[in-house]
């Protein structure tokens, strides 16, 4: 299996594609072209792309675009998607108001 650990390996030039303008991460409005550019900047993992571009950091937390980002990386680096880890999942599962998380009242039934 090809390794992506050597970050200086030659992955070829970044060739623009006609659909580079389509939006991959809808929450943060990150395009396919921006993600492909980030991979050529050295971001070889879903976590790195996410931290570099904010893809998957919006309201849905990457539940929509996670797999798309992964397949873009796999294609650009010429590896199989299963080789790449998904982004870290974080609590809470859904957005929660601070006043709910920080509620101090205890209701005894």
């Amino acid at each position: 299996m090809k390794s992506i650990n050597d970050r200086s390996q030659d992955i070829g030039p970044l060739v623009s594609q006609t659909d580079d303008g389509i939006i991959i991460c809808r929450c943060e409005e990150i395009t396919k072209g921006e993600i492909r550019q980030a991979i050529h900047d050295g971001m070889f993992t879903v976590n790195e792309i996410r931290r570099y571009l904010r893809s998957g950091m919006g309201l849905c937390q990457g539940q929509t675009c996670g797999k798309l980002v992964k397949s873009l990386i796999a294609r650009e680096l010429d590896v199989i998607p299963a080789q790449l880890d998904p982004a870290n999942s974080r609590s809470p599962m859904r957005p929660v108001e601070m006043k709910v998380l920080g509620n101090e009242e205890v209701h005894h039934v």
């Binding site: 809470p92 006043k99 920080g102």
Partner: protein, 375 residues
């Protein structure tokens, strides 16, 4: 693939990446070995983003002040990545007389080092930040402090260093340092042995086990800290915030979301399950603290919470030092939660230390052999 370079850096966090970048700029060949699959996955990208001088120990303050004067303002341009550096001051808030005493003590120390920081009262505080509750009665105010984006700063250094020819190898956990003829020479990983004339260990808490292979110890422990982030909110304020009790700290990012870090009091006693995972009480406790200071944020939604390890030094100040008893070996670890803000200055000065044998800022107060038993 050559296994030899002028310098090997162990740890692909912001300290390792920044040092690699400044060494490459000086024309040295550098290899960075990162244990995990991701660059900058440790404390470098898990912190609250403070770029502060106020509240810092006087031993590390010169480094913090030099970096804010000389490196942070031009960093986005230099790296070609927006690090979102915002220099709009730091408010360290207090509500009680005990808080006032803590803040006054910190302020007096910083003033003695030449920092522009002063105590202000409730009205002055609300003139700077009108969203703070009336419970807030005192604060230290340092107008030259600020914040930045830890994610893009860490990866920005990585990107730029890589462009300059630095080799980064991920999933390469180093488990042994080897000397040849008394000087550092080899770094052993499961896949390969790398060689260099000089080696920098900048692997956070993991530095401790590795340094032990050449008989060196830095007294530090891993300490878990937790952060959370809200959805994007309308722009409210630009200052960095903290509190006397350190209940929470944070800022509003360029994107609009509020990033806050906080503690529940149980951090040193968290179970170590091998990964830094948020506890069930952490986010709730931090939210309670925030709402008392910022009632207006009660309806802001938390979208994500995370945790990370600090490499907490016995005296809570970093170790940045050459190791004379192992010629060629250098240490930069035990940043104790202060690593992000001083990282550019630390990287710049460590690169000078390695390449030129001396640094712009005198780092002798941060030496590795400063730890003495009590008398």
């Amino acid at each position: 693939m050559s296994k030899h370079s002028d310098v090997i850096i162990i740890g692909g966090g912001i300290i390792g990446n920044a040092t690699a970048y400044y060494l490459a700029k000086k024309g040295l060949s550098v290899t960075v070995l990162e244990a995990s699959k991701d660059i900058g996955i440790g404390g470098s990208s898990r912190n609250g983003g403070g770029v502060r001088q106020s509240g810092r120990d006087t031993r590390e303050l010169p480094l913090a002040m030099w970096g804010i004067k000389n490196l942070w303002p031009g960093l986005s341009e230099e790296l070609g990545v927006d690090v979102e550096y915002t220099q709009k001051g730091n408010l360290r808030l207090g509500k009680t007389e005990a808080h006032q005493k803590i803040l006054q003590g910190l302020t007096d120390k910083a003033v003695s080092c030449g920092l522009d920081v002063r105590m202000i009262n409730g009205d002055e505080i609300r003139a700077i930040n009108p969203y703070l509750s009336d419970e807030v009665t005192c604060a230290s105010w340092c107008p030259t402090d600020g914040h930045a984006n830890p994610l893009t700063a860490t990866l920005g250094y990585y990107k730029k260093a890589r462009e300059l020819g630095v080799r980064f190898i991920t999933e390469s956990p180093c488990f042994e340092l080897r000397k040849i003829k008394g000087a550092i020479r080899q770094v052993v990983t499961p896949d390969a042995i790398y060689e260099a004339d000089k080696v920098l260990v900048a692997a956070g808490y993991d530095s401790r086990k590795l340094l032990a292979t050449v008989g060196i110890d830095v007294p530090m422990m891993p300490l878990k800290m937790e952060c959370l982030v809200t959805e994007a909110e309308p722009p409210m304020f630009l200052q960095m915030l903290g509190t006397a009790e350190a209940d929470f700290y944070g800022h509003q990012s360029k994107h609009g979301s509020f990033v806050f870090g906080g503690s529940s009091g149980f951090e040193p006693f968290n179970k170590d399950n091998g990964t830094p995972i948020s506890s069930s009480i952490g986010a709730s406790c931090t939210c309670r603290g925030i709402i008392k200071y910022f009632p207006a944020l009660a309806d802001a939604k938390i979208v994500r919470a995370w945790a990370g390890w600090l490499d907490d030094c016995a005296d809570h100040v970093p170790v940045i030092s050459p190791v004379e008893e192992v010629p060629g070996l250098y240490i930069a670890c035990a940043f104790s939660g202060h690593g992000f803000g001083i990282a550019p200055a630390a990287g710049y000065n460590i690169a000078e230390m390695i390449a030129d044998g001396h640094s712009t800022i005198d780092l002798s107060a941060l030496r590795y052999d400063r730890f003495k038993p009590k008398q």
